[in-house]
């Protein structure tokens, strides 16, 4: 815990960790949080009838989910699952391609022009503020339903994340090798390739792997709005109340997500 040494209180009878101003700040935040929770509790609309039969509904849900429809896997789930993985990986790769230039533009060290930095940062914030499901809705509106919309949605959502972290990594590089290259008269491509890239390479691959892990999770739901992948199968099963198939799809999603996480962890250990 960090704290600058507080000035001695007026009555020096006892040590106090925070100055009165700091304590007022903390109190204000606590007050705001409690007020927010109380205000939300008082105004939230909960329908008591729905709540009353929740246990019944849960039992109903579980009995309908069991037995899991394993035999549906080859027919309806396998292809959709592969499509989800393709969406996640292609989306991540596309995001890396698109985000790197934006990240470079956002880094003040590389592009010492504040207007350009701010414009690039605006692009990154816009990308992150829109949920991947919303991006999917937009791209379904443009390209029609299918995995293309899903891939683009994943890519556009990831640009902000990857670009921000790449930009920060670039801003934190050491100036020494870069100045050495410049002094040797290297063109800017060489400065980028031999000065900056070796310094940010571990961070770059780490960001890429981390985002891929997130994207596997996110691409699984894009199908709910028609953007391809296993979510489409989930949506179809839900609309027909085929809960045994829903259970199968949930198990498949779980396996893929855990496999991706384990894979990413292993690659990270080997590579970085």
């Amino acid at each position: 815990m960090a704290s600058a040494a507080p000035p001695l209180p007026a009555d020096a009878r006892g040590w106090q960790r925070f100055t009165p101003a700091q304590r007022i700040g903390r109190f204000a935040i606590y007050l705001l949080l409690v007020a927010g929770i109380v205000a939300s509790l008082r105004t939230i609309e909960v329908i008591p009838e729905f709540l009353a039969d929740a246990p019944e509904q849960v039992v109903d849900l579980l009995t309908r989910m069991w037995p899991i429809a394993w035999n549906y896997y080859p027919r309806g789930v396998h292809a959709a699952l592969l499509e989800t993985i393709h969406i996640a990986s292609l989306g991540t790769l596309l995001a890396l391609l698109l985000a790197t230039p934006v990240g470079i533009l956002a880094a003040h060290r590389l592009v010492p022009l504040w207007p350009v930095n701010w414009l690039a940062r605006l692009i990154l914030v816009a990308s992150r503020s829109v949920n991947s499901l919303v991006w999917a809705l937009i791209f379904v509106g443009i390209f029609g339903p299918g995995p293309l919309a899903g891939t683009l949605a994943i890519a556009f959502r990831s640009i902000g994340f990857v670009g921000k972290l790449v930009g920060e990594a670039l801003d934190e590089t050491h100036a020494g090798p870069i100045e050495a290259l410049r002094a040797a008269g290297a063109p800017w491509v060489s400065v980028l390739g031999f000065g900056y890239w070796p310094q940010v390479r571990p961070a770059f691959w780490s960001i890429a792997l981390f985002r891929f892990d997130i994207n596997v999770r996110e691409s699984a739901v894009l199908g709910l709005v028609g953007a391809g992948g296993i979510g489409m199968a989930l949506d179809a099963a839900l609309n027909l109340f085929q809960w045994d198939r829903v259970a199968l799809i949930l198990v498949a999603m779980f396996v893929v997500v855990v496999a991706a996480e384990v894979g990413v962890t292993q690659v990270r250990k080997r590579l970085l």
């Binding site: 935040i29 929770i37 609309e45 009838e49 729905f50 393709h86 809705l137 509106g141 390209f143 949930l250």
Partner: protein, 288 residues
């Protein structure tokens, strides 16, 4: 990772790419080509889409704020869902995170706790929301419960990791005084993880705010339902109004999260908070 000097002077580069990296990139290229054929992406389709997109964007501008009341109601409900889910999620994540820490708990306690946290984290909140909509019906409650589960998954994992990294010296010092287990936690462990915990909690509030605008797509309350309905009715000008409002809400949430972090982690006072241009880390760097 190749810093070997070139063996023959004929090598064109001073730092050649390693063979393993070359093979990896070749495999990646093959995979991309294969995946692209699977996804049925064609130049023609992209061209068609670009033509659509100009029309699409044309209809989104100008945003239509005529149904402000509907918009406001949805946003307020999203905010309520985010606040309540964060509060509930944080309170529930604390015990799970603590029970999962392998340096404090025996394996028969930590493994079940970790399993629950992994389960809670492996599904997207929207998928969890579907199940809760079935269980407790349409409306905000399903959204709150779904985001609570997501919060347990996220905070629980990070909290466990934070506790596993604490310095054991302080824990042993408190133990050596004969303090009971709860006091060891309160005075030996929690002070060490408090500032990181504030970080996770504010991040989760932010994340819940984003997701609370989405769970409505499956009927779990909030602005998402309104957004999805507007999309399906091709009310694109209303869609852009909703999107702008969501972005404004999320940015407000980010400002709040930054303020909380500054007050609790950097010990900023309210006056420092409102002063423009103040550095975000005005504490000595060698302080820990």
């Amino acid at each position: 990772m190749s810093h070997k000097a070139p063996v023959t002077p004929a090598t064109p580069y001073t730092f050649p790419t390693s063979r393993a990296a070359q093979i990896t990139f070749a495999l990646l290229a093959v995979y991309v080509a294969y995946a692209l054929t699977q996804l049925d992406v064609s130049l023609e389709r992209v061209q068609q889409g670009l033509a659509h997109s100009s029309r699409f964007l044309g209809r989104m501008i100008p945003p239509n704020f005529a149904r402000a009341e509907l918009l406001w109601k949805g946003l307020a409900e999203s905010l309520q869902i985010a606040v309540l889910a964060s509060a509930l999620g944080i309170v529930l994540a604390l015990p799970f995170g603590l029970l999962g820490a392998r340096n404090l708990m025996p394996p028969w306690v930590s493994w079940p706790a970790r399993l629950i946290v992994v389960l809670a984290r492996s599904f997207h909140p929207v998928v969890v929301a579907i199940l809760f909509v079935k269980a407790v019906g349409f409306g905000a409650l399903a959204g709150i419960l779904a985001l609570t589960v997501a919060s347990i998954g996220f905070i629980g994992k990070l909290f466990t990791e934070a506790i596993e990294e604490v310095s054991i010296k302080q824990v042993e010092a408190v133990r050596a005084t004969g303090a009971p287990f709860m006091s060891v936690l309160a005075f030996g462990v929690l002070p060490q993880v408090f500032s990181r915990f504030i970080g996770f909690a504010t991040y989760q509030l932010d994340s819940n705010l984003r997701n609370s605008t989405m769970v409505g797509i499956v009927g779990a309350g909030g602005i998402g339902g309104t957004l999805f309905a507007a999309f399906q009715r091709f009310d694109y000008d209303f869609v852009s109004a909703i999107l702008l409002s969501i972005i404004a809400l999320i940015m407000a949430g980010e400002v709040l999260a930054t303020a909380v972090r500054r007050v609790f982690i950097d010990n900023a006072t309210l006056r420092q908070l409102f002063r423009r241009g103040s550095p975000s880390h005005d504490r000595p760097l060698d302080d820990d």
